[in-house]
Symmetry: C2
């Protein structure tokens, strides 16, 4: 007899579910994977209207259930405080009625995005008359493994289902009760909208073995998306037998060329570093051309220091700005996610490109320059997901680039590179129509 995973899906199930034997855990995981695959087959042909109706009903449900969600969140916050979690971690975990309203609003925004499915991406009539079309279709089943922020539960479910996919969610154990409360609202709205309830499932146990087992089910799960620290991503990559959409470090650079406009350069590095230092598209290293370093760097450093930024420079930068501390070799490879910036003076545009290709994480790298040839060379030769020309690194974001909401920013080159929105949660299918065509 197969246990019903929903029997464990209540906010009170954490402890009892974790007392499951390995075999029981495996059975529950297999049941979830199979149910997700069946749901995905139904979602393949679900109408856009049904999916948008579900998103809007879920948004209303979240507002209506604010009290229950906050009660669940309070339990997580209690555990977190007892477990001695950092203030930052507790802040990421905390919900209030404003945050719940924001989560609901995000669902309405996703409902308003165009349906990514059905688009014809290529078509031709072959010399033999065969009609060839390549159309956009859902991926199938997505397995989302994430940490901390409970809003990911709603965002990921919304993006996956809107793009025609079933999703299995596995949030962090510290947000266990919050995630269950949010999931329940979304899951309860599926069947009334004409969608299968198993389209959105939440792993009902915190045992890590569940993740490991699901990652072997490449027959049923088409894509794994880990969202969290490098340790989580590495573990998923090592264990997964299906493709993984990875979002590693954002070690982003701003290069100030000898032909940069000084005011523009100052505004861009300031924005890239201090506007929101804790995010992946914030700048971590400033490179500046030797020809303008002596005139421009002291002034830029002054502004950065005034904003509380700690500067770590190479010897030449330190000589120009006495308030800098000497950088160690590790600094060039570090994603600080904080008010710290590594600074190096470079000999040339090519030296800047070389530095970025050696130390960068292929996420976002900016050049500030008025010279067309410098800009073209930088854009062609820097191996990165997004080149910013005379713009802050902070613009590498699904919303800013016009993709709508994003499920993550891929630092891989395969399938999707950079922000991943609805289209990046789809695949293609060839549809070939003949009139009895056979091969000679």
């Amino acid at each position: 007899m197969i246990p019903d995973p929903h029997a464990h899906a209540s906010a009170d199930a954490a402890t009892s579910a974790d007392a499951l034997s390995p075999d029981e855990l495996k059975t529950i995981c297999d049941h979830m994977a199979d149910a997700a695959q069946r749901a995905a087959r139904k979602l393949m042909t679900a109408s856009g209207a049904a999916k948008d109706a579900w998103l809007k009903a879920s948004a209303r449900g979240l507002i209506a259930q604010t009290e229950a969600i906050l009660a669940a969140n309070a339990r997580d916050l209690d555990h977190a405080q007892n477990a001695g979690l950092s203030r930052a971690a507790i802040d990421r975990l905390r919900l209030d009625s404003n945050r719940i309203a924001e989560i609901a609003h995000a669902l309405e925004e996703i409902a308003a995005l165009p349906d990514p499915l059905g688009e014809t991406l290529a078509s031709s009539i072959r010399p033999n008359g065969l009609e060839v079309r390549k159309v956009r279709v859902p991926l199938g089943v997505v397995f989302m493994i994430y940490e901390s922020r409970p809003n990911v539960t709603a965002d990921a479910a919304a993006l996956c289902v809107k793009s025609g996919n079933a999703v299995i969610l596995r949030g962090g154990s510290e947000a266990f009760h919050s995630n269950h409360a949010l999931h329940r609202v979304l899951a309860d709205a599926l069947e009334p909208a004409g969608l299968p309830r198993e389209a959105v499932q939440l792993v009902p146990v915190t045992d890590r073995a569940a993740v490991g087992h699901l990652l072997t089910r490449s027959d049923a799960i088409d894509l794994a998306i880990p969202r969290g620290g490098a340790g989580l991503i590495r573990r998923v990559v090592a264990e997964a037998r299906m493709p993984v959409l990875k979002h590693y470090d954002g070690n982003c650079h701003v290069y100030i060329d000898q032909y940069a406009d000084p005011d523009m350069a100052e505004a861009i590095i300031l924005n890239a570093k201090v506007q929101r230092p804790g995010v992946c598209n914030a700048a971590e290293t400033l490179l500046i051309h030797r020809a303008i370093a002596a005139t421009m760097l002291p002034r830029i450093a002054e502004r950065l220091l005034a904003h509380g930024v700690e500067l770590r420079g190479d010897p030449e930068a330190c000589a120009l700005v006495p308030a800098m501390t000497p950088a160690t070799p590790e600094d060039w490879d570090t994603e600080y996610l904080d008010l710290t910036l590594a600074v190096a003076v470079v000999d040339s545009l090519d030296a800047a490109i070389e530095h970025i290709n050696r130390h960068g994480s292929k996420h976002t790298d900016a050049i500030v320059s008025r010279d067309l040839e410098s800009v073209r060379r930088f854009a062609a030769r820097v191996d990165t997901a997004a080149v910013m020309i005379n713009a802050s690194t902070r613009f590498n974001d699904g919303g800013q680039l016009g993709l709508g909401a994003e499920i993550g920013i891929s630092t891989d080159k395969l399938h999707a590179r950079g922000p991943c929105g609805l289209r990046e949660l789809t695949t293609t299918k060839w549809i070939v129509t003949g009139s009895g065509h056979i091969r000679a």
Copy 2:
């Protein structure tokens, strides 16, 4: 001191190279991965003219070096005969001057294909005036692991370099000398064409540990492509830390609907099964609607039997065609790659869809029907890389679909699905241009 891998790259190095210590092997592999990454950086901006000049020079070189290549091939054939390889394996391995001319011609055809790079895939101007473009760029470094046929050495190198990528080739040990002889011609033509010699490297040892080590170098290698049996693919998937383009089984179906044209149905299943039974897009299972089974199946079976096809039927099919043997449950999941066909009578279109989604390998599945609603339902609901409507499954092929040459047929849904040509060996880069834009 780093050993030069090219010192081991001669056709005589197999034995001595295999006597390397694990540390020496690792050093050689690391050196190859690093050299490939440097070459890839140069290839990013190599001109299409240089790459096409290399392809044409390589084609001329293969013809000019026919004698040396055949001598190397003779050594492999000797080993193969002594090792007791099957006649089919020896045939796959065997080169003659015609086959070498075909390999050279394939390089010229790839030279004639349009350059896949530089294409703008999406572009917009954001409300704030930021210009956003998504352009096609090379992947970087491809690691190609393959078995048997020496022509893959030339095909894979040509497709990778034409699409702007460096490639590390690792052919089967049975083709060791043939692959080296082919590789030498291609590698020798790189520098005269203005391309880096390390753009095309061949792993100079047969030790499997070399593959294992290279599969960990996700920092330098962007994509692994195993091409061979399921065992090879599974090993690469398990060990690779970079994305893998997979080409698993082709368990392809032909479904004959109740509204099929009888002559068309007969021609299509005959072509799909017998025209070339040993390839992945040949049909392995015939499904036929009950309403027309009694009139159509005996006639179709007679044609198939006349072509030497062994038929394995479900009870209803066996009752209609006494010459059929009863199918076992395994038959529905088997890729025969031979003159064998499983046959089942189904109750309905939906039963056919259900059978294919349960047993198929998501490769190529065909429907024969004149009914528009049946065709639309089948195309929307069968979860497969290519749906063939009134056409043979044999058309799922890069050349037939208009992609030019292919490096494989992906049975994955991520990145590329179906035939992979030059475009599927590329990724994208966002290029965002502002005039001092910063985020508020």
